[in-house]
Subunit: 419 residues, 2 copies
Amino acid sequence: MLSVSILTIGDEILIGQIINTNASWIAQKCLEVGATVVEHRVVGDSQNEIIDGVDDLLKKSDVVLITGGLGPTSDDLTKPTLAKYFQDTLIFNEEVLEWIKEFYKKRGINEVSERNRNLANLPSKCKPLKNEFGTAPGMLFEHNGKILVSMPGVPKEMKFIMETHILPLLKSKIVSEKKEAHIFVTLQTCGIPESVLADKLSGVESVLNGLNLAFLPSYKGVRLRIEAKGLPIDLAEHQIEQVKSFIYSKVGDYVYGEGEVTLAETVGKMLEERGETVAVAESCTGGLLGGEFTKISGSSKYFLGGIIAYSNEIKSVHLGVSTETLSKYGAVSQETAIEMAYNVRKKFNSTYGISITGIAGPTGGTPKKPVGTVWIGLSTPNETFAKLHQFGGDREINRERSVASALTMLFFLLKGLEL
Amino acid sequence: MLSVSILTIGDEILIGQIINTNASWIAQKCLEVGATVVEHRVVGDSQNEIIDGVDDLLKKSDVVLITGGLGPTSDDLTKPTLAKYFQDTLIFNEEVLEWIKEFYKKRGINEVSERNRNLANLPSKCKPLKNEFGTAPGMLFEHNGKILVSMPGVPKEMKFIMETHILPLLKSKIVSEKKEAHIFVTLQTCGIPESVLADKLSGVESVLNGLNLAFLPSYKGVRLRIEAKGLPIDLAEHQIEQVKSFIYSKVGDYVYGEGEVTLAETVGKMLEERGETVAVAESCTGGLLGGEFTKISGSSKYFLGGIIAYSNEIKSVHLGVSTETLSKYGAVSQETAIEMAYNVRKKFNSTYGISITGIAGPTGGTPKKPVGTVWIGLSTPNETFAKLHQFGGDREINRERSVASALTMLFFLLKGLEL
């Protein structure tokens, strides 16, 4: 196997001001080409810590991918630190200067400042990697049969360098050296609790053949992750197919996708295939359900829009919820959810209308309607109904679970499953 | 200084399926009580990797905080691994069994399964830490003057154990042992580029006195982070105040908050103080601006709602954008943005109306209106206008930058700054 470790450099990540999304992106992409990820590590902007991390990770893995610490400001330490570690000196690279000039020229700037010229000073032993989205190039070192790559921390720049230079290199190494593969396949389910899923899948051991099946629950649903490690790639793929067939035969209805697909994406595709449309009426989620639908490019084919009815007045004036309903049952009620869903469908002339009204918290709860009480309504050309949820989490979780539950409800309806 | 390292255990994080938000939360909280974070590390569900990580981090730091690998399923390795590492044996803890029974009882379950009873089997040397939100207790080990804590990976459970048991312990250690503090203070700015900020703050060196000032740009704005390390806590706080005064005197207008405050929060507070309200009309952001406003508990005082006008028909029928405007100038135009902002303000009877219409990408761009072209409109009781942005990023970034720019526009208006 080709083993990869990921070293993230930067006080911002270390102190928690930025979440380390780079590491998870890199890990996913490395696995996709068949490499194994063995460790992530985050260290601060300190020469000793960087050297210590590099030294340790080069012992533990075939490839060390570093992000961060490459910009023009004085915090940026990676370059001199790597030069020191590899007992190298910085030399001025004319080709890299051309890249920097070209980068600025495209942005209408013809003068390169001294500080930015300095970015072309690179360790002599590294191969510079062109960065189309920034001025600091990546650096590739080969050292005692190991590979070390240093990339900027800006996600767009890092992703460009990974996709253009590094992932093809890793893939070719795996193929040419006939390395064993490490494959993960994930099936995404929704609307079925982990324990029920586990019951329905009892007996899966008989088809696992040494593969591993993990149940990964979250508020969006349970992910089923099949892992094959240490097998030749074709055998691994064959065995994974067998496990997948078993899962589909038992709980296929609840599987909304494989890999990184989102439920909104699947629901969107189903709507598009059926030539149907949806509109939303959101209270406590304030637009997040619309935001989730429109994350998908091309969603305008089935997502028409919606009304964010955060105040009661908007619910009645713009969404037509009767003031009687609001005063008799309250804004968070089955009746209000039903009127919201029905009315947004009628107003927007969509096939389906979805509504969300609830108490996200932390304030606003009562003994009868505690924080986390959320009604989700669904209106179709045939019927309109609403379901009660008691999430009981904190504000953000209640809002995100509301969005996930609304999408699950529409998914079940489109699949013809019992709601 | 009291140094902390964070060890995250779990294949899911290692392979990038889950982003490591626990580590950043833990880091922030440790800094708040005055500890220093020296490293984050992620390893897989493997006994050797866990032992290797624990051993290494116990050498590098005073405190090792571990999350993950504590549940009842067979993936969960942390407990036996720590027992092995500390040459300890598992013994059944009756008090912990009571906690587990209590947890289930609250949820109406009176029977504890064998699998869950097993959670009360703990290394004899650890102090169990009660977990009110789950069944697996935390474990505290003291070893050669170092502290090691193992917590579940579920964020809510980890946060409860940190806040109830660990943060008070760290704080008391720092105070009783008179450790030097490591303090970070962050000022958040918006609407001013890094280079302009740097120019306006030239001369800051004269007040830094050994403190560090970092410029941290993102698409939401530039954060200014002041760092004091290795000083007694009162001196550190005094020096930080001096740097803050300097920054406020030079660029105070652009500072919208300190610490973790969001721009939506600041803008919301300003609206609330003025007794003013806002409504939104969103096209390419599909509800994300409403989602950002309503992230704040209590936002119903100033955020009324909005219209998600994703299709042109909704823009004209429900938002009253004239069909002539749409056909003559297009949906992504100054004219459409102005009509959207004005009409949503009038329709919702709010003080301000904000509109966003743009080409988020990756498709839909033209030579005249490339991907990333976004018009943001703002309507006030006195005037309505729109500003053009050319973000040129990918879909998600264009949408998030649109939200940030819309909030910045309203912030500038409320502050009386030039737009």
